[in-house]
Amino acid sequence: MSSKVITIAKRELRSYFDSLVAYVVVGGSMLGLGIWFFLMQQGGFWQIDRASLGRMFDFLPWALSAMVLPLVTMRSLAEEKRTGTLELLITMPVTDADVILGKYLAALGLVAVLLLATFLYPVALFVFPWHLGALDWGPLVSGYVGTLLLSAAGLGVGLAFSAVSDSQIVAFFFTALTLIFLHVVGNVVELVHGPVADVISFVSFQTRFAPFARGLIDMRAVVYFLSVTALSLLFAFRSLESRKWN
């Protein structure tokens, strides 16, 4: 990977932390997770009496799809196009692919920081200061792998919308709606039959993610999430390149 990708990613990541975005994303997610984890759903974590963090993975994919991923990617290209800074960036000796990859890596980095922060939960509850029992670490690890893959795909989709739009708000809503749709569409599977159901369970993030939360690393799902990522980035790249012709 070229050093220019790293330079762009570093700048982008810095700007996340210089603005409120990073703090809103990490702080807000932790707060939401806390409320969900301890207070909601059958009375919260303490009431169900089980040494499991499964409920964390009920929450994270939702929060990521509906809020975090769209919030993280909305500015990436849309804002640069609006303010004109993209022109100065692209007329430096960098390729369009450097720009897309740099921005993508920075977004992924921020989400990785968020996921790292949520790791406080298993550590605090099962290692130090509390020892609530023997945690089955397998599903936890696979759950994190799944969450990261889902985030990778969602960020790709977000970057693609940011690349076609001049407005962060528009990029945010289109990304959020698309990701929510890809998520909830899995619920419809039980209502329909035949090829439609197959297609739905093929594209649904929820259906794809479910095995990870149970401790399985499903290679088909891995390939699916990575394919969505690659296709989205390719789309973003093409869209950035199309400025030359329009």
Binding site: T83, G84, L88, T91, R243, N246
Partner: protein
């Protein structure tokens, strides 16, 4: 060396659907030249510059920068130039130093080269006081200086500056143009502006575009000569040498009667003195005749100036169609 072609365009064309922003523009710029790229708003200046910097692709024709094709060697082109887009769009959340470091990293300057170059551009762009400040806190003039600094950080042979002086105050402008002349000796500078006095101050040559086409290209003196007329201005006091008042009608008719005068214009006066603008062909010099006339009539001569043809007038003649088109609503 001095004849080396640094920028070369041949029938460069850019159309958006049925609208042609740049229409078969051809020109050449050599090493060591500072060329003013002039034209009214919307004439295609920025579009041409964006093609030269590989931000846009042309729909027709070719362009070479530093011998490299803007189509096939976009990285090579961008490596050899420094570009300041209109209104200096910078990342506002970075400090000046961080921004320069960022630009240097993307241009792959090593640490010691950066240090050396940074010291140099900070000095010439006058940024020492604001190095640690966030760009969002800077005035537009300073932002433009930072924009220029990033364009110079890698010591490029070619500079493309899109209205670099638009946000500068008069002092900054003068300083900037002085500086440009200094660095332009061994570089190639293409500078767009609609301020003609700037072109006169810094450029030996101008390219004037109008509605996507080149309408004039050459030394300023040649472009000026194109209009073919010269204006002489004269100011006469309202009281003549014997203290009695002079009538405007009388002055006007005497001036009209002079040989070689094609037109006499009288701008509004303040009642204490009258000014007249006389248009003549370029080879006629009226000054001696005017002095004799004043002595003969007993006028008190306050001013007598033979103006070299103003570039403004030539510019207006060449690009007038643009404005007229703006004010017409077509039947379509």
């Amino acid at each position: 060396m001095s004849s080396e072609l640094m920028i070369q365009t041949q029938d460069l064309t850019k159309s958006y659907g049925s609208f042609t922003a740049v229409d078969r523009i051809s020109f050449e710029v050599r090493r060591g030249e500072i060329v003013g790229f002039l034209g009214p708003n919307g004439a295609g200046k920025s579009t041409t510059m964006r093609i030269l910097t590989c931000y846009l692709a042309p729909t027709g024709g070719t362009a070479r920068v530093n011998g490299k094709d803007v189509f096939s060697d976009t990285l090579g082109v961008r490596q050899s130039l420094g570009y300041l887009p209109q209104r200096a769009p910078l990342y506002l959340d970075m400090s000046v130093l961080e921004y320069l470091q960022f630009a240097a990293d993307l241009r792959e300057l090593d640490a010691s080269t950066f240090k050396k170059r940074a010291r140099n551009v900070v000095e010439v762009c006058g940024l020492a006081q604001v190095l640690g400040k966030e760009i969002s806190e800077l005035s537009h003039g300073y932002r433009q200086r930072v924009g220029l600094a990033q364009a110079l950080i890698h010591d490029p042979p070619i500079l493309i500056l899109d209205e670099p002086t638009s946000d500068l105050d008069p002092n900054e402008k003068t300083e900037f143009l002085e500086y440009l002349k200094r660095i332009g000796q061994e570089r190639t500078v293409l500078l767009s502006t609609h301020n003609l006095s700037e072109v006169e101050a810094a450029c030996a040559r101008a390219i004037i575009v109008s509605r996507g086409r080149v309408v004039a290209d050459g030394a300023l003196s040649d472009i000026r000569a194109r209009s073919g007329s010269v204006s002489t201005s004269i100011m006469v006091a309202a009281e003549n040498m014997s203290g009695s008042s002079v009538s405007q009608v009388e002055i006007k008719s005497a001036l009209d009667a002079l040989k070689g005068v094609s037109k006499v214009e009288a701008p509004p006066s303040n009642g204490q003195a009258y000014r007249y603008e006389l248009a003549t062909p370029q080879d006629v010099d009226l000054r001696a005749d005017l002095y004799r006339l004043a002595v003969q009539k007993g006028w008190v001569l306050l001013e007598l100036v033979r103006a070299s043809q103003a570039l403004e007038d030539v510019f207006r003649d060449l690009t007038l169609g643009d404005e007229r088109k703006n004010r017409e609503i077509s039947a379509a």
